[in-house]
């Protein structure tokens, strides 16, 4: 097959899955619809993942489609992460009321996945802008999907408002980049943005506003808690993992390929943003009573940790960002999956509703323990190695103060993750009759959670293959 087709093979296959879901939708009878649509999407995406891994691995980094996309390991690795996350999310969709029976939900998920994949591979400003919007617009719809739920529409609307505003600012930045480089290709931009002046600093600021929103860096993080709280839990799961990782993929490529000459400026800016992001995320998370808001602030803090690797801007740093995002996607998807499974039965996302959960469903509680310990950065789970690598990279590059802030923040994080687990394991429900309120788990949830928990443990304990993967991705820019 030609290079052009190979470069977008995963996107083509994901598109086919989306079309297949739409075409098959009328043929499913009402009671089969949930099962049919959900398994079709998850199965199709898994097949996409397998085919791409077998047939689509990139060789030498190359440009395709007239320089619109790059075909290299960075884009390939991220595409695999996104498709995996989408497949798992399709499983979590299945038992959510009003979401699992609607073909549109699955199609929007695949559309957004295509956008994220293109975000990771785009090497041209036109492609970049289109990819970001292809990711965002389906996500606006999915956040506001429950039209008769006031919280869901409000969450979708807030996301849309912040998203449209920051993307307009971002676009203005792109127009200035085009104005001073005379081209929309990253390589040409790199040739033109070599000296420091008021224009290049302004452009960098406008671009960081747009991307800072996507990865929810302070001070552009305000949308995240509101949107996560109101959106359906599995949608919040994608927003906090895949969509955020896509933003990081763009940050890595745009800053390293497009603005390498201004590295000192963006390193310092991102270092300050990372420190503020971690601190705000962790401190505000301490006060949360709703578990979705708690995870929203925790995911803001995690964006800060991952950013440290990019600030370090050395080989280990780039590698550690990719590795961090891999571990984080697995962990946070699991956390939001558990909230979906529990919230469906308990009907509440308040942390107090988790009292005595370990007696109601010991296995779900165990999964939650694994996910939360990994978020807190405990060995032998993925989150530990990821944090260690990020901090090591920053030490190597001499960012000691940032590592210090990061470590203090990790300690604060451990406190609120373990406090939540205290409700799950040590507290009792009112009446102490947990046995009469079991939490039945359907098959898709069991499969998804088992895969995610195994993934978290694998990434944390047999980390060599993942380390190599991240290394390949970081080298192949």
């Amino acid at each position: 097959m030609s290079l052009n087709l190979m470069a977008i093979l995963p996107e083509i296959l994901v598109l086919l899955v989306g079309i297949l879901v739409l075409v098959c939708d009328p043929f499913f009878k009402d009671e089969n619809r949930r099962v049919g649509l959900g398994w079709l999407t998850a199965g199709g995406l898994t097949a996409t993942l397998a085919i791409s891994l077998l047939a689509g691995q990139p060789g030498q980094p190359a440009s395709a489609w007239g320089g619109m996309v790059r075909y290299d390991w960075l884009s390939f690795a991220f595409k695999m992460f996104f498709i995996f996350a989408a497949a798992i999310t399709a499983l979590f969709f299945m038992d959510v009321d009003k979401l699992g029976r609607r073909a549109e939900a699955y199609v929007l998920l695949t559309a957004s996945t295509i956008g994220m994949s293109l975000m990771a591979s785009s090497s041209d400003l036109v492609m970049l802008y289109l990819a970001i919007e292809t990711t965002s617009i389906p996500m606006y719809v999915l956040s506001g999907f429950m039209l008769d739920d006031q919280k869901s529409t409000e969450s979708g609307f807030k996301y849309l408002l912040f998203g449209a505003m920051t993307s307009a600012v971002f676009l203005y930045g792109l127009s200035l980049v085009y104005g001073f480089a005379g081209s929309t290709s990253y390589e040409v931009v790199a040739l033109k943005f070599t000296s420091l002046n008021i224009v290049s600093v302004g452009v960098l600021f406008l671009i960081l506003v747009g991307l800072g929103f996507k990865v929810s860096l302070a001070p552009f993080h305000f949308w995240a808690p509101d949107t996560y709280e109101g959106a359906p839990s599995p949608v919040a799961g994608v927003l906090s993992t895949a969509s955020k990782a896509a933003g990081f993929a763009v940050l890595i490529r745009l800053l390293l390929v497009g603005f390498p000459a201004m590295a000192e400026q963006w390193q310092l800016t991102l270092a300050i943003m990372a420190a503020i992001t971690m601190t705000i995320g962790n401190l505000v998370a301490l006060a949360q009573k709703n578990i979705k808001r708690l995870l929203a602030y925790s995911s803001i803090a995690h964006a800060g940790y991952a950013l440290i690797g990019l600030v370090a801007n050395n080989e280990l740093g780039h590698l550690s960002v990719v590795f961090y995002l891999l571990a984080y996607i697995l962990t946070n998807l699991a956390a939001f999956g558990i909230i979906t499974a529990f919230g469906r039965i308990a009907g509440s996302d308040e942390i107090r509703a988790y009292d005595g959960m370990s007696r109601r469903s010991p296995y779900l509680a165990l999964a939650m323990l694994i996910a939360f310990l990994s978020l807190a950065g405990m060995p032998p789970f993925g989150g530990f190695i990821a944090k260690a690598l990020v901090f090591a990279a920053a030490v190597q590059a001499g960012w000691y103060w940032l590592v210090f802030v990061g470590i203090i923040n990790s300690i604060v994080g451990v406190y609120y993750y373990l406090t939540t687990m205290k409700y799950v394991y040590l507290y009792r429900m009112e009446g102490e009759n947990e046995e009469s309120f079991p939490i039945p788990m359907s098959r898709p949830y069991v499969i998804a959670l088992v895969v995610l928990c195994l993934g978290i443990i694998m990434v944390g304990s047999f980390f060599a293959p993942w380390f190599d993967l991240a290394g390949k991705a970081a080298m192949g820019l």
Binding site: Y140, K158, A168, S183, E229, R293
Partner: protein, 100 residues
């Protein structure tokens, strides 16, 4: 030919007006119009630069931006209608059931 800096000044004014509108106005529809203004400011800059470089990249970009803006507004209006049905108001300040 009018120099490119004139177009840029207009575009900066448009962008500022749009940004102020988003920050100050409380009616959701007006906020959306202000966002459109910001996008069109970028469009104007693209077209002006495109003219000076004698290349079509910028004009091409503008077409895509217009398409995306239409899609964004379609989704936004649908959400506004849903919100209006339950609240009978599209005041942005009244969207406050999510906070903490």
């Amino acid at each position: 030919m009018v120099p490119v800096s004139y177009y840029l000044v207009v575009s900066v004014i448009l962008f500022t007006l749009g940004a102020l509108g988003v920050l100050i106005r409380r009616n959701a529809l007006v906020v959306f119009m202000s966002i459109e203004l910001m996008l069109n400011a970028a469009n104007l800059a693209f077209v002006a630069f495109s003219r000076t470089f004698n290349s079509y990249d910028g004009q091409l970009f503008v077409f895509f931006v217009m398409t995306v803006a239409a899609a964004e507004v379609a989704v936004g209006l649908a959400l506004i209608v849903a919100i209006f049905r339950s609240k009978h108001s599209i005041d942005v300040d009244q969207l406050s059931s999510l906070k903490g």
